[in-house]
């Protein structure tokens, strides 16, 4: 039975946290939130070279260190805590995972080492104008030209799409849904437009293709199961990230409740505030259970369980983070409503994460379908 973290995983947490305490301070978050690129290539490189975060769960044969999902979860909980501004989720949770799942050994061997070493920033371009994360949302057209596949159409809300070196694009061919790789450097017909985002800590872009050459990954028309599995993995990792964000938000609320005095005593001694903080912790610990169950399911590799746990984790953790972040503002009173205070950074990250892979309502429906409800 392995429903707890090992000593090594606790150590990993300590290492990642101390790295992020140095390189992803609130000042860094604010600086990068205001920066159109939204991340610092120097920090990205150190993440790869100092602690190997990008390649942590990439198998050794592709240049990674071959750790499991629970290990990766530890990292995401910490990046969520720090509100790390970096294309880490896009690269690791979405793109690397999609490559691992697709049926294309040559592409894996060629593309994953760059991701693992931190050289390649990658993302998955799946959603279009209606923002759907399901099969029906994929309408972008791919056709076989004389010298290979060509993509024409539009993807939007693409996480870190403005700076990714590698785009994995879900598109429709006459055979069905297929996955393509586009290397963005000098790709003909490719236009990328950054989208101004409410949550400035995670950037998004619109990407348009006009007869853009693309490399088909695996067999034409068979990509959906691999994509669905990729999204399930990403759902779990996002859930852990959300737990980290919520925990950090609660920390600020509790710290403030201990020192802020009204009526001659700390506000944290009033039950109205104390009980709110206690409820926040209950919510976070419950969200932890939901998210960790997903990690353990991923490591156990039981597909039915993964599908259930992933949908459950997103349905629950999304709302938990948003609730905790909103309550954090409430505990802070007026100061919590200012631009200077970090509380809104968590609220906005919570709100954007809530819809990043589909809304809680969507995940509830996925769960219901998977349970036969």
């Amino acid at each position: 039975m392995d429903l707890t973290f090992s000593e090594e995983q606790h150590e990993l947490r300590t290492v990642v946290r101390s790295f992020l305490t140095r390189h992803a301070t609130e000042a860094d978050v604010r600086r990068l939130a205001a920066d159109p690129r939204g991340h610092d290539p120097w920090i990205w490189r150190r993440m790869a070279t100092e602690i190997g975060l990008q390649g942590l769960a990439v198998p050794e044969e592709y240049g990674g260190s071959g750790f499991g999902y629970a290990d990766l979860g530890v990292v995401f909980e910490e990046t969520g805590r720090a509100l790390l501004c970096a294309p880490y989720f896009a690269t690791v949770a979405l793109a690397a995972e999609a490559l691992l799942r697709c049926d294309d050994e040559a592409a894996r061997a060629e593309l994953l080492p760059g991701i693992a070493s931190g050289e390649t920033v990658a993302t998955l371009a799946l959603t279009e104008d209606d923002g759907r994360w399901d099969e029906l949302g994929i309408r972008l057209n791919a056709r076989a030209g004389a010298s290979g596949w060509l993509l024409t159409g539009e993807k939007t809300y693409v996480p870190d799409g403005h700076l990714a070196d590698l785009l994995l694009v879900a598109a429709r061919t006459p055979a069905g849904i297929s996955l393509f790789a586009v290397t963005t450097a000098d790709a003909p017909g490719l236009t990328r437009t950054p989208l101004p985002t409410l949550d400035q800590t995670r950037k998004q872009a619109r990407v348009t293709f006009a007869d853009t050459p693309a490399r088909l990954l695996g067999t034409d028309g068979t990509a959906w199961p691999a994509l669905a599995r990729t999204l399930a993995t990403a759902a779990v990792l996002l859930a852990v990230e959300q737990v980290g964000g919520a925990a950090a938000a609660l920390d600020t609320a509790v710290a403030y409740a201990k020192i802020r005095e009204q009526y001659g005593r700390p506000i944290g001694s009033f039950q109205g505030i104390k009980h709110k903080c206690a409820d926040m912790l209950v919510e976070i610990e419950s969200a932890r259970s939901a998210a960790y169950a997903g990690l353990w399911a991923l490591d156990a590799g039981d597909e039915t369980e993964i599908a259930v746990a992933a949908a459950l984790a997103q349905a629950f953790c999304s709302e938990a983070f948003t609730k905790v972040a909103a309550d954090t503002i409430q505990v802070h009173g007026g100061i919590g409503f200012t631009w200077e205070h970090p509380a809104h950074l968590y609220l906005k990250r919570a709100k954007s994460s809530e819809v990043l892979l589909g809304t809680p309502a969507y995940h509830r429906e996925l769960l219901a379908a998977r349970l036969g409800i």
């Binding site: 201990k258 001694s269 039950q271 104390k274 912790l281 419950s286 932890r288």
Partner: protein
């Protein structure tokens, strides 16, 4: 999510499964899933079932052999509870003595007390009630007023206890008393073991909201017990009592939560049968109910995993009760709503069906064992380090 406790426990588990297959039959099988921490339903059958378990040497799996236990470890105890819940066996009538008093005596009792009391608990020969609460001491347990005075080699006890679960069945009570009349609050308390079969003890049933005589009030007028019946040191009863309440481990939550899972599944079946799954509002609440029982289970398994790894469980061990009790009530409300008007009809003599009983009894879960408000205080003060409430 099936739990496998590893190869070392597999033989134990298989033995238990076989035993259930042979013994959880007939009347016992008809009472599968019946009972709960505050449910007095089918008392006689459940007591007989406890004796059946005792005869199979399944009570006190983790207790030392010299007192009638099996002398196994925590992991076997947990595996036992897990298999027990899986088999959906009737809820044990003597769970209070097994889960609270027994472990307390093992930890704080003297040798004579262990020898005298533990074997009859495991043999289901003596039934116990917990006499902590008083009319004036509920959440604020430190304000107990029941007095005990030394008279030669005996204690003489006067006062009143209340909400004693299954009190009318009790042969013995473990009561929190004030032995130093000048003391205040947590000081000067002593935990005494007191036989009920004497003129100074009067036990009156109190009907609970489900119509059951499940708890009782206890009047102690010059009730007597031996001087050797103090558990732990005289005057240190608060420590002893808290040790009891501290024995709230993942093991005891498992069966309850597997029961909640069954309720959630029954609820989904009911909703399907009534076509309620097509109603988006109901559907959402049904999925949420399912999510919450699943989360309870995982939280519980996290705690157990930490315990079996020899670590101190994290905050989830403390937050679990508040989450589970609140969500279980929501489940009950939803089940009643799905049942509709038919769910409002009871049997002769106010006989309730499982759903009605479960719903009504769930209202106690946010009161006993520390109310939700007290749980929030504990979480706020002990886990989050927030300043204590001002105390008078």
């Amino acid at each position: 999510m099936e739990v496998d406790f590893g190869p070392a426990v597999r033989d134990f588990r298989d033995e238990l499964r076989d035993w259930f297959a042979d013994h959880l039959v007939g009347e016992f099988a008809e009472h599968r899933g019946v009972g709960g921490p505050t449910d007095g339903a089918a008392w006689d059958v459940r007591l007989a079932w406890d004796r059946e378990l005792s005869a199979g040497n399944w009570l006190g799996v983790g207790w030392p052999k010299e007192y009638g236990g099996r002398g196994l470890g925590l992991i076997e105890e947990i595996a036992f509870e897990y298999e027990y819940a899986r088999a959906n066996a009737p809820y044990r009538a003597t769970v209070n003595a097994l889960d609270l008093l027994g472990p307390m005596l093992l930890a704080m009792g003297d040798e004579a007390q262990k020898k005298r009391f533990l074997p009859p608990i495991l043999a289901v020969e003596e039934l116990w009630g917990q006499g902590f609460s008083e009319p004036g001491a509920g959440s604020d347990l430190a304000s107990v007023r029941t007095r005990a005075e030394r008279d030669g080699d005996q204690w003489v006890v006067n006062g009143q206890k209340v909400w004693t679960s299954f009190g009318v069945h009790a042969d013995w009570l473990y009561v929190l008393t004030r032995t130093d009349p000048d003391s205040r609050r947590h000081k000067g308390l002593t935990l005494l073991l007191l036989p009920t079969d004497q003129p100074g003890v009067e036990i009156r049933p109190i009907r609970n909201l489900a119509g059951q005589d499940e708890f009782a009030e206890v009047f102690l007028s010059d009730a007597r017990t031996g001087a050797d019946m103090a558990v732990g040191e005289v005057g240190q009863g608060w420590r002893t009592a808290m040790a009891t309440l501290g024995i709230e481990r993942g093991t005891t939550l498992l069966p309850q939560q597997l029961g909640f899972e069954r309720e959630a599944e029954a609820l989904i079946d009911l909703a399907r049968a009534r076509g309620a799954l097509d109603d988006p509002m109901l559907r959402r609440r049904i999925v949420d109910a399912w999510i919450s029982v699943r989360i309870m289970r995982t939280t519980n398994l996290r705690t157990i995993a930490e315990l079996t790894a020899g670590r101190t469980p994290g905050p989830q061990a403390t937050t679990a009760k508040l989450y589970a009790s609140t969500r279980h009530q929501q489940l009950g409300h939803l089940a009643m709503e799905l049942a509709g008007p038919a769910g409002q009809i009871v049997g002769e003599d106010y006989e309730l069906d499982t759903r009605q009983r479960s719903f009504l009894l769930s209202l106690a879960e946010t009161i006993y064992g520390g109310s939700s408000e007290i749980q929030r205080n504990i979480i706020g003060e002990l886990l989050l380090g927030l300043p204590r409430e001002p105390r008078p």
